[in-house]
Symmetry: none
Subunit: 191 residues, 4 copies
């Protein structure tokens, strides 16, 4: 009977949209409430502070990103397959939710994120690092500090998303080419 989405979700959506447009720091809580179609007081019934709201939005989407990166992973599959899945997940997420991805990756968050949010970021990072390490062990990924290689690919994905966000349109073939290129960055060069 009640098809209205729960208030909390409505607020998270409104917050994401405002934070995306104006940056967490530049956003006014009142604007979030207005866009959510409710009063400030109500917002504060659901989130005790702007910081708490920011962290909730961050976790909502960093968690979603983590799920997408992890979904269907199989520790025995070739690393090339793992990478394809993760990269695909990342790019699909960025394409489907450019606002969420932009909020997560195009902004500086340090000052207000709490430990739990940082832990979630760390899990995403750890997941990537594991993939690189496993790839190096089985000889599919080139030598080098795993965190450095991860920084390069992750950065490449973010760069791609940013350019798409800024207006670049890519068809399926181009996206496949992008994935190939990103894998080449990681892949062990043929001796």
């Amino acid at each position: 009977m009640n098809d209205r989405p729960p208030t909390r979700e409505v607020l998270l959506d409104a917050a994401l949209s405002v934070f995306t447009e104006q940056t967490y720091g530049g956003a006014a809580v009142a604007e979030v409430a207005k866009r959510a179609g409710m009063s400030v007081g109500t917002l504060y019934r659901y989130f005790p502070s702007k910081e708490a709201l920011g962290n909730a939005v961050f976790r909502r989407w960093k968690g979603e990103l983590l799920d997408r990166l992890t979904a269907g992973a199989d520790p025995d599959e070739p690393v090339r397959t793992t990478f394809r899945r993760a990269w695909g997940g990342l790019v699909a997420f960025a394409a489907e939710r450019p606002d969420a991805f932009g909020f997560l990756e195009f902004q500086q968050h340090e000052s207000y994120l709490d430990e739990q949010s940082a832990a979630l970021s760390a899990r995403v990072s750890a997941m990537g690092e594991e993939m690189v390490v496993r790839g190096q062990r089985v000889g599919e990924i080139r030598a080098g500090e795993p965190l450095m290689l991860l920084a390069l690919v992750y950065g490449a994905a973010v760069g791609l998303a940013r350019t798409i966000h800024d207006g670049l349109v890519l068809d399926r073939a181009q996206l496949a080419a992008a994935e190939d290129a990103a894998w080449a960055l990681l892949a062990k060069p043929e001796n």
Copy 2:
């Protein structure tokens, strides 16, 4: 005799340092003036508004970045060489001026940047695109939408800088490995 740096420069330096720590949006003009050792009134004699100051800082360093990317470029050299120079310039800049690089690349600027600043960003982009296009023409760089390939490498560089900024320490060999990996992203795969 007068070795004091010109007031304008002092202000740009102070502004960069404040913007880096607190984000453009979070920074108080009074704090910039204080760190520059002068009054707000004087700051406003040099820059008509906070936006103007932000744009000046942005241009100061985006211009420096463009110089470094361009420095010593020779249209006839192999693209591999051009890339090495550009990548090296980028990474050196990020290493020497992490504050400036962070300000340029880790923050969202859209709302206050003016046309002139945007044009400068466009020139950096154009410079990269030219390199990619030339590389494709001479068969050194893989096929694909040039802006897409550029987004990937540029993003990789930014990702690397961010991870270094977050504490990762890399020696010369690792940096060389990073450059190899980044080039692999662009390089035309062997047959």
Copy 3:
């Protein structure tokens, strides 16, 4: 069978405890309801506004104080006896219900008290004034504006209560000495 105190009383108790800790002005209605174990809505069923609640608390205890000051009074007894009873009642009340006494006497109430509450205060005052006037008529109390003398003794009692509230501990003998001193303030000096 039903030993639960009536809702209204529960609310008055909760309100007193919150007003005592935080001042009438600083207290949140929601906190009162919470401490009373019920919802705000229910509180508002019993009291139409915060002001009404404040007045009810004030009257509840100013009335109690009046009862104690009056209890067992006999118009024919010596004024010294009346005074002993009244002073003792005041001090006992302050000792037994420091919260209530503090709320009544250590705070400024003017802005929200209504006529009925003011009338109750006036009755306390009138009762004291009568005692002073009677004492003067029978030659037991010194000459002087009765309201002035009342202000002095009443103030002395409040001062004592405040100091006890702030931590001063007094035994029975000291309390008796205090009563003597207070009476000396009123008593007609020998010749």
Copy 4:
């Protein structure tokens, strides 16, 4: 040439008047600024917070009160003289500055007063205690816990001030009678 009172003083005066009428807790900073004839921003240039302003007002007047209680004190004079001076100073202060005296003594301040303010209150109290102790030593003041006796007289003075504040008008003779009565409270009873 410049006869305008210094801004800080203007603010302290405005704050006192608003705090007196509405209680520290009930007062709006904006109202203080308005009554001082300036903007909120200016107020905040002189006082970093409402608490700081409240403490400054408290200290301004508690200090004045201390001065008045102390003025012209001579350790060798009879205690009766010391008392007359102190009581007179207190009453004169309350008469001349009923707003300041009311702010100091008719309100509950605990939650926002800082250490320095508390120390000032302690000095006033210590000064009174010394007088009582000296009086007891020389046999002019009755036996009893000095802080208790002090609480009684100080309370009597506050009670008198409150009643005057509430409208009681007293001539010189009545005020002298009040002083006599207050001294009787302290004085050692004849044999």
